[in-house]
């Protein structure tokens, strides 16, 4: 059976195609595609879907099921079913990392922590009321620091004395960054301070739902080594980061019907 999972995120749309007939575990994933979402969820989903089918070298009629997840999951009409990203991430990570007990996902708009038991969600927490503790926080503060967001992590690794960022609020943190810069603090130290601040915030959420071991770190931000390290330090354990941490939602959706 061939299934496609589409994760319609606010920044990017991801698609994963799996074939459940392939008997070798971890080889079921046939193709992945990713494209920017822009302003049109449906068009982006369509594009990611076509891309993934093309990469797999098959045709639309060969696809048995399409499952959508992510922010725009309910607007994708050609999907057979919509699944929440929380369930999808749990399923996707479980496939890649069967011992998983917890998931941390820092996305562009929100951050989530999920407690997982045998691939099923047993508890979760989300922060979506404000930008603090999300990718947005990094995006805005990186801008104030005038460094590309992807470089924030490597910059932070070079810090000698991380600055103390006290504002949780993104808007205030942005001005805090500016005032730290005028006081002459090194960019590296400010970057480390920012990353520590987001790590602290996310670590509190993880503790709230009792994540202790076998934790995976997913979402686009997980590619950022500096943040991973800061989180690991804060949580006092090492995190599992999948090769393509931004794809686990789409993967989980694709695997929805496959046990």
């Amino acid at each position: 059976m061939i299934s496609v999972g589409i994760d319609a995120g606010s920044a990017t749309t991801k698609a994963v195609l799996v074939d459940s007939k392939v008997m070798v575990v971890s080889k079921n994933i046939i193709a992945c595609a990713i494209c920017p979402t822009g302003f049109d969820f449906i068009a982006a989903a369509q594009k990611a879907y076509e891309d993934v089918i093309e990469k797999a070298g098959i045709e639309k009629k060969d696809v048995d099921n399409v499952y959508s997840t992510g922010y725009g999951r309910n607007s994708i009409e050609f999907a057979d079913k919509a699944i929440s990203e929380i369930t999808a991430h749990a399923r996707g990570v479980y496939y890649l990392y069967p011992d998983v007990k917890g998931i941390i996902d820092i996305g562009g708009q929100d951050s989530k922590v999920i407690s997982v038991n045998n691939g099923k969600v047993s508890d979760f927490l989300m922060n979506d009321k404000c930008a603090a503790g999300t990718g947005k926080f990094l995006e805005y503060t990186a801008r104030a620091l005038e460094v590309p967001i992807d470089e924030l992590g490597s910059l932070a690794l070079a810090a000698t004395k991380p600055a103390n960022i006290t504002s949780m609020c993104t808007v205030f943190a942005e001005s805090e960054v500016i005032s730290l810069r005028t006081r002459g603090l090194a960019k590296e130290d400010i970057a480390a301070g920012l990353i520590e601040s987001i790590a602290r915030r996310v670590a509190v959420m993880s503790r709230q739902i009792g994540l202790k071991e076998n934790i995976a770190f997913v979402g686009g931000v997980a590619k950022n080594d500096g943040i991973r390290k800061a989180l690991e330090k804060e949580l006092k354990l090492s995190l599992f980061v999948p090769q393509k941490p931004q794809m686990t939602g789409a993967l989980g959706a694709a695997l929805h019907d496959i046990r």
Binding site: I83, E85, D110, V121, K129
Partner: protein, 381 residues
């Protein structure tokens, strides 16, 4: 789901009730406005007055309140205050009943309400019942009894009627009848599948504080008859219990989300739920003492300790065969937000999943709440 004629009637009852109140006032009857379950209806009715709830569930009047009140207090307090002080100078309209009361009967519960009442006095005569905060002590009962006696005198003064023991007994019996009817309605919700949605039940839960007791009884009777005849369709849906802050009239946001995303609400432990009817008032006893005893036990988070609430939640979860609990709070309601911790631990121990939703009256977070509810439903099925 079935469309209940009674619910349709309740939805259109507003203007009829407003006309009734207007007529009553012309005829010299006094009408008081209340905000809280700690104020015994029995005393109000025994004094020959009528009452309407003034708790606001609408978002738009909050903007008016924010001219006077800080932004970071609960939306219920802001919405109510805004509806009352609205002088019509803006486009925003308050519901008519907010300007149809002769006196407000307030109570010292949470800080936000307590201090809001102090401001309210400038706009409408406000009587405040003080509440002891540690309800389990014997002194507390005595004190509360005295407060109710004072309140009784205030009602006598307002209406010019004497509140006799007989009248109180009558009203206690009448209110108990309503409570028993609610018990009966809730009994039907123990069935699986359930014959009636949580949204439908919420309508009458909200309106019970607005309509006359006579109307509430009638609606409950016909609703129960209707619901008894229904053979609900077969599909099992996750059975949800809501617990937490009140959902005032106009506010159905979270139940809407839950029931449009595959869940079915089978019980609500809140002031628009079991707290209004779970305990009856003892009949044929000293009526004032019986009232004091019953009302002081209301498991509200303004009281400390309030462990009885956790026990009730566990019992209800069991009785109603609940799959999951949605702990619902209004933003900045510190009492219920803090109490979440204890309830969550107790539910965890009992193996019952819980989803926490803190929100306000705006529509801005509907999608975000929807995502959590979706995930919660997937988790439960």
């Amino acid at each position: 789901m079935h469309c209940f004629k009674t619910i349709e009637d309740i939805k259109s009852s507003y203007t009829r009730r407003i006309r009734q109140i207007a007529d009553e006032r012309i005829a010299g009857k006094k009408v008081v406005g209340t905000f809280c379950l700690f104020v015994p209806d029995e005393i109000i009715f025994a004094a020959g007055a009528d009452r309407v709830i003034l708790c606001g569930g609408k978002n738009d009047t909050i903007a008016i309140a924010e001219q006077y009140l800080p932004r970071n207090i609960c939306p219920l307090v802001k919405s109510s205050f805004g509806s009352i002080v609205n002088d019509g100078s803006s486009e925003i309209r308050s519901c008519s009943h907010f300007s149809m009361v002769d006196m407000v009967v307030a109570e010292n519960t949470c800080d936000s309400k307590k201090k809001m009442y102090e401001l309210l006095e400038e706009y409408v005569p406000t009587y405040v019942i003080d509440l002891p905060q540690r309800p389990d002590s014997p002194e507390a009962l005595q004190y509360f009894l005295q407060e109710l006696e004072k309140f009784k005198s205030a009602m006598e003064k307002l209406t010019g009627n004497k509140v006799t023991s007989e009248r109180l007994q009558q009203e206690i019996r009448s209110s108990n009848e309503i409570r028993q009817l609610f018990h009966k309605l809730y009994e039907l919700r123990k069935k699986d599948p359930v014959p009636i949605t949580g949204l439908d039940v919420l309508k009458i839960l909200q309106k019970q504080y607005f309509l006359s007791p006579h109307a509430v009884k009638e609606y409950l009777n016909t609703l129960i008859t209707e619901a008894e005849q229904i053979i609900p369709d077969g599909k099992h849906k996750p059975r949800i219990m809501i617990t937490g802050c009140p959902m005032s009239g106009g506010n159905t946001k979270v139940p809407d989300i839950i029931e449009s995303r595959g869940g079915i609400i089978v019980a609500e432990e809140s002031c628009t739920g079991t707290r209004s009817f779970l305990d009856l008032v003892e009949e044929n006893k000293d009526p004032m003492l019986a009232l004091a005893r019953r009302y002081i036990r209301i498991p509200c988070s303004c009281m400390s300790p309030n462990d009885r609430r956790t026990d009730i939640i566990l019992d209800l979860a069991n009785d109603f065969n609940v799959d999951g609990v949605v702990y619902y709070t209004l933003q900045f309601c510190h009492g219920y937000n803090i109490e979440k911790n204890k309830v969550q631990q107790a539910l965890k121990k009992a193996g019952i999943p819980m989803l926490f939703i803190e929100t306000d009256y705006s529509e801005s977070d509907i999608e975000q709440i929807g995502l959590r509810v979706d995930a919660f439903m997937e988790m439960l099925s």
